[in-house]
Amino acid sequence: MIKVINRGLYSTVQDFGRENYQDFGVPFSGVMDRKAAAFANAILGNKPNTAVLEMTMLGAKLLFTKPTLIAISGANMSPKLNNKAITINKAVAVNSGDILSFGKLQKGFRCYLAVLGGIKSDKVLGSQSMYSGITKTYVLENNDEIEFDDLNTNFKPAFASIRFNDAYLEKNNINVFKGPEFNLLTKEQQGQLLSQEFSISKDNNRMAYQLNEVLPNNLKPIITSLVLPGTVQLTPAGKLIILMRDCQTTGGYPRVLQLSEASINVLSQKFTHQKITFNLKY
């Protein structure tokens, strides 16, 4: 078991989320950065979509009550085991009574803690991903207890030598497709959208990232239509809203761009004030 001594800023259990309930209005949810979560799992020989702990900006302080192997990937938040620095993107043995904690955020925004065999929690509608109104709790709290399997002593890290290319953590080019309403923008607006530098507003979370700079426009709201994580909506006031993994299934704002799937991972490692540009790749 892992006992949560301090929950950190915003920590949740996530796998790759729920795909089969969009028709019931249920968000996808799932890890924000699939690349990092899949890598942490791969180090331990877990399947890519195995449940992990997603931590945001400030990591949690966690007490392990039995031995296991862990791997941390994504943002570098200076992890420490019993106050001694440990390496990320590598399997680390943990003993009963060990305390995992995190320090300064060095790179990225979200980090993933994978445990050998995965975190065990209730599957709701096919997924362990926490979401308000779907799972019993939607964010980790102090004193929560997280279950995982007993250590399988036969385990040999199969991918011990694979390297994690973390260059994407500092990429600020966001690759996009034209959104369904892109062509309703004037040539000037299209040009501005694809050339200007935008900064991430303080309103950024698992549901959406808003941008600070506005794009004045006179587009009318659309008849409520379909969106996906990565859909960039433009409000009448000119606000750009990039939908993320916990977004609603439908929306009524014009959809001017759509992030490539890999760019959703890139954006989920960004936070307030950081700059991005949109790069029409497709």
Partner: protein
């Protein structure tokens, strides 16, 4: 199937298909037919297929390699002469208590529309609404068919907390809040019925194409039904529509 559809690539592995930009039952039926046809064919590996008023989004398991030929295939599926797939659609009878205890905006709305409270209730409960799709919140039904006389703008300042089961009017739409949530619609009543249950494999009983009819009930009846719902023994009255 004879609408002029547009096909757009949405991302690496998704296609968006759009019908003319209107809210219309015939369009909904066409969307649902096309969706059912694609599902029945089982020729693609599809991970998500979802629709709204006049659009259909298909997310494939793998990235699209040849978008032109995929769109050509989809077009020929749309045009193909196949038997109309019939759905067993139902009309669900949803008890609603319009008592001012629940319908906190009812008097105000009636006043603004120059109608009596009784007339508002009558106009709201005599229609059979069409379920177009579920979106916004888990279990939130987008319903068509609100009487024009009841059209009321959303409140300028949304409420931070609207109680689960609240029945409300926002613009030309009416709907039921399936869970406690913030919202800007005008609340005219409350239903004790659960529109979303995570413990069921079909978490919402209603489906696109179904009908919803509101049945006015007293506060006493509301509380009785609520007790039955809480013990999972209430059976929602329904009748099958034969299209």
């Amino acid at each position: 199937m004879s609408y002029n559809l547009t096909y757009k690539q949405f991302n690496e592995r998704s296609i968006l298909i759009e019908w003319p930009k209107t809210i219309d039952e015939d369009i909904l039926n066409d969307v649902l037919q096309f969706k059912a046809k694609i599902k029945a064919l089982e020729m693609f590996e599809i991970t998500v297929i979802k629709h709204a008023y006049q659009s259909l989004l298909i997310q494939f398991k793998n990235n699209i390699t040849d978008v032109e030929s995929l769109i050509t295939t989809l077009k020929s599926i749309y045009q193909s002469q196949t038997e109309i797939i019939s759905f067993q659609n139902k009309i669900w009878k949803i008890p609603v208590c319009y008592d001012p205890f629940f319908g906190i905006d009812l008097a105000n709305l009636a006043n603004k529309k120059g109608l009596s409270i009784e007339t508002v209730i009558e106009k709201h409960s005599q229609v059979t609404y069409k379920v177009y799709f579920i979106g916004f919140l888990p279990g939130f039904l987008y319903l068509g068919g609100l009487d024009n006389a009841l059209e009321t703008p959303r409140k300028a300042t949304p409420r931070l907390q609207i109680e689960k089961g609240s029945v409300a009017i926002g613009g030309n739409q009416t709907g039921i809040y399936p869970s406690n949530s913030p919202g800007g619609w005008n609340i005219i009543g409350q239903t004790p019925i659960n529109f979303f249950n995570v413990n069921k494999s079909e978490p919402c009983f209603a489906r696109a194409g179904d009908g919803i009819k509101f049945i006015p009930v007293s506060k006493k009846e509301f509380l009785d039904i609520k007790t039955l719902v809480e013990h999972d023994v209430y059976i929602i009255e329904s009748e099958v529509i034969n299209d």
